[in-house]
């Protein structure tokens, strides 16, 4: 315990900028020396892709090598650089503090992206994992609006995702590719990356319109009824697509152009987090919470409960549609089976694992379920015992999820940490 506290105290003076710098050093070390020197001398066949989790589970003999690699490449450089540069990075952070908050946040995000890009760029498998994790974050944050902030239990997220995925895929196939089903491209393919945001927004809008089919009949009811109606909606969407031969039916639809590289997905994810954060912290978000806690009281406080609920529901559905569009263009193939009960279980697991009513929680949930799912891959069947067990324990000890009911405080996150030590107070 003592060590942990000391450890915390030692690094309490490091601002966010310092951590980024530390991670950047680690990534650069991996980039330049990871393959040729460090992993070579440690007897590893290659740079361990997920901090060595895969190789450790597959070959126990490699555990020391992989751990040593993690220490040399990640732990020691990150901690050392973060600590040693903290005087400079604090000055930098203090300078950034003078800028408007949004500008400072954007600069930090650019830095974060640079680090992520370098780290993932070492291996295309990492890129794919990061892409799918970012899409999961959009999905989880958006379902949190409905299941967390609004307090309903909606099961139609895969359905919204399917709508977004199919609508945006059809658009890109019709407009930008020579396809067997839809014929030659209507617009030059060079325009595709520029029009892709519009395509995604249309996909999201389609999902939002589709969500009205759930919203209008069901918001007179609450709780279980909405769950059943939304579940039915999901199955209706799936069956409808399965029986539409023009878009491939059960055989699926492939050949979408690869329009979703890492930067595009990163930008959409940050946009989603930013907009949803503003949404839930606005007066509207407060109204939403009030409706969740006591509908009658909210009504008497002149909140239009119905409109509030519908807007939030459509808003959540919109982002699910966007996530679906991105998903379709990452895999460049979709079939209706992808948007079924399995996907629903995954999304619900992420949101309840991470924490209701919290964007940080959603991010934590999405990242941990995705990374766990990949890292435990070598265990095959046992993976499906371990992950549910972890979920059960989280539900027993933290019924609202790991990090629930907390918000991001951007200012506090990015500020310089120097003055704290002067006062000698640890938080």
């Amino acid at each position: 315990m003592g060590i942990v506290k000391k450890f915390q105290q030692m690094f309490s003076t490091v601002p966010m900028l310092g951590w980024f710098l530390g991670i950047l050093t680690a990534v650069l070390i991996e980039y330049f020396w990871g393959y040729d020197y460090i992993s070579y001398y440690l007897g590893l066949p290659k740079i361990p892709v997920l901090f060595g989790a895969l190789i450790m589970l597959k070959e126990p003999l490699m555990i020391p090598g992989a751990l040593a690699y993690d220490l040399i490449v990640y732990v020691i450089p990150v901690l050392a650089v973060a600590k040693l540069t903290s005087p400079f990075t604090n000055q930098g952070a203090a300078l950034l503090e003078k800028l408007p908050l949004w500008l400072s946040a954007v600069l930090h995000l650019v830095f974060l992206y640079a680090v992520l890009h370098l780290w993932a760029g070492i291996n295309d498998y990492r890129v794919l994992i990061v892409k799918l994790t970012l899409i999961s974050i959009i999905l989880t944050v958006s379902i949190n609006v409905i299941n967390g902030y609004q307090g309903e239990f909606s099961c139609s997220h895969p359905g919204f995702m399917a709508l977004g995925a199919y609508v945006s895929s059809i658009l890109t196939l019709v407009l930008f590719t020579n396809d067997k089903i839809f014929g030659t491209a209507l617009l030059p393919p060079a325009l595709a990356p520029y029009c892709f945001p519009i395509v995604l927004v249309i996909g999201g809008a389609a999902a939002a319109v589709g969500s009205l089919a759930v919203a209008i009949p069901s918001f007179r009811t609450r709780g279980d009824y909405l769950a059943i109606i939304s579940l039915a909606f999901m199955f209706i969407v799936k069956s409808a697509i399965e029986n539409l031969h023009i878009i491939g039916g059960a055989r699926g639809m492939g050949g979408q152009p690869d329009l979703a590289p890492l930067p595009v997905i990163f930008i959409w994810t940050t946009l989603c987090i930013w907009i949803i954060h503003n949404f839930v912290t606005s007066i509207f978000g407060k109204a939403l919470n009030t409706v969740r806690d006591d509908e009658a009281a909210a009504e008497s406080m002149t909140i239009k409960t119905r409109k509030t609920k519908m807007t939030a529901f459509m808003f959540g559905a919109f982002w699910a549609g966007v996530a679906g569009g991105l998903f379709a263009h990452v895999l460049t193939y979709i079939n209706p089976g992808m948007f079924s009960i399995n996907r629903l279980a995954e999304i619900l697991a992420m949101v309840y694992f991470g924490g209701l009513n919290s964007i940080v929680g959603s991010i934590v949930g999405a990242v941990s379920i995705n990374v766990l799912g990949e890292a435990l891959r070598p265990l095959e069947l046992f993976k499906w015992i371990i992950i549910p067990l972890i979920l059960i324990f989280v539900m027993i000890f933290r019924p609202y999820g790991l990090i629930s009911f907390t918000e991001i405080n951007t200012k506090k996150l990015l500020e310089a940490k120097k003055h704290k030590t002067k006062q000698g107070v640890s938080s």
Binding site: G43, M62, I129, L132, G249, N335, E380
Partner: protein, 391 residues
Amino acid sequence: MRKIAVLTVVAFCTAMLFSSLALAARKTIIKIGINAPLTGDIPKVGEGTKYAAQMWLEDIEKAGGLEVGGKKYEVELVIEDNESKAESAVKANTKMITQDDVLAIVGPQSSKQAVPAGEVANKYKTVMISPWSTNPSTTLDRPYVFRGCFLDPFQGPVVANFITEEFGFTKAAVLYDVASDYPKGLAEVFKQAWEEKHGPGSVVAYESFTTKDTDFSSQLTKIVKSGAQVLFTPQYYNEVPLIVSQAKDLGWTGPIVGSDSWGSAETIELCGEDCYGLFFSSHYAAAGAKGATKAFIDRYEKTYGYIPDDVAALTWDALRLAQQAIQDTGKLTGKIEKDREAVRDALARIKDFDGITGKMTFTEEGDPIKCAVIVKINNQGEYEFYGSSCP
């Protein structure tokens, strides 16, 4: 502060000491990726794939490695689970290609995983042989993707012809899973072939259900009432026993005919006597096999305790094809991109490959030209050779 520093140093040193493989030089190992559904809807298919692959590896290890151009290379299998999901198959392929540096990939088995996974393999210019995927788009316009079996457009007419010649029936019923790619595709092809033979309307009942349905009584009642003489159901081993027993309960007396998806060892295990005497089209027949096929079946049965299904046999052939292609390259450079390209060219050149599921030559598209087999489930519950049909 000091404590932490000491701890780190100690941890570091121990790690270094114990990394027994430290300083071992990197050598060229031939890695073959296996992308199989070990968990999910059809784990038996994954198991067959894995067992066949392990048997193949045993052979290679017994020979002291794979000989390419006079030099013996160590061979390693990278077996990845695709959870019977499309995106997981894509992840598995990406991982095997970019992280494990596999020379070739065998799998995925089902078309719904093989189609998107083939895209990845083609993008990274790595040979992928899907042993069991019958969907045309798996290999379409993908020079690096091959398959080990015949296609649905070939299999459908084979079954339609067989029923017509064997029984002389003119009215058929079809029951299939509308939500699954393979049954749906094959049902359509069969219907088309049947109606070409017997005129429009000769498929008197064309009923569907959805994956994971277990009660087919309403569809089967319609089929029984429609006056059909034969029922064609291209389903997997988990549904066939249910369909057969429910049909019998509802008074169906005609024959029920299936497709290669029946070929799993599990079908007869679950179905029992109800399935005796039924026919299906397949890639090979276990009972009464000869030569190399018999040797493979006997060895598999001895090691794993049951007769291998077509998936195992096709996987075996796919691996042997990959092996042949690697050996045909003549020389491995150690540069993975170059070697992969060489393997692809060698594979496309293979003529009259003598597999345990028949002779194979690849077309331009990477599809083999090979014969289909009609199998009868005999009264001992064995899959017996009944006839064959070649293109």
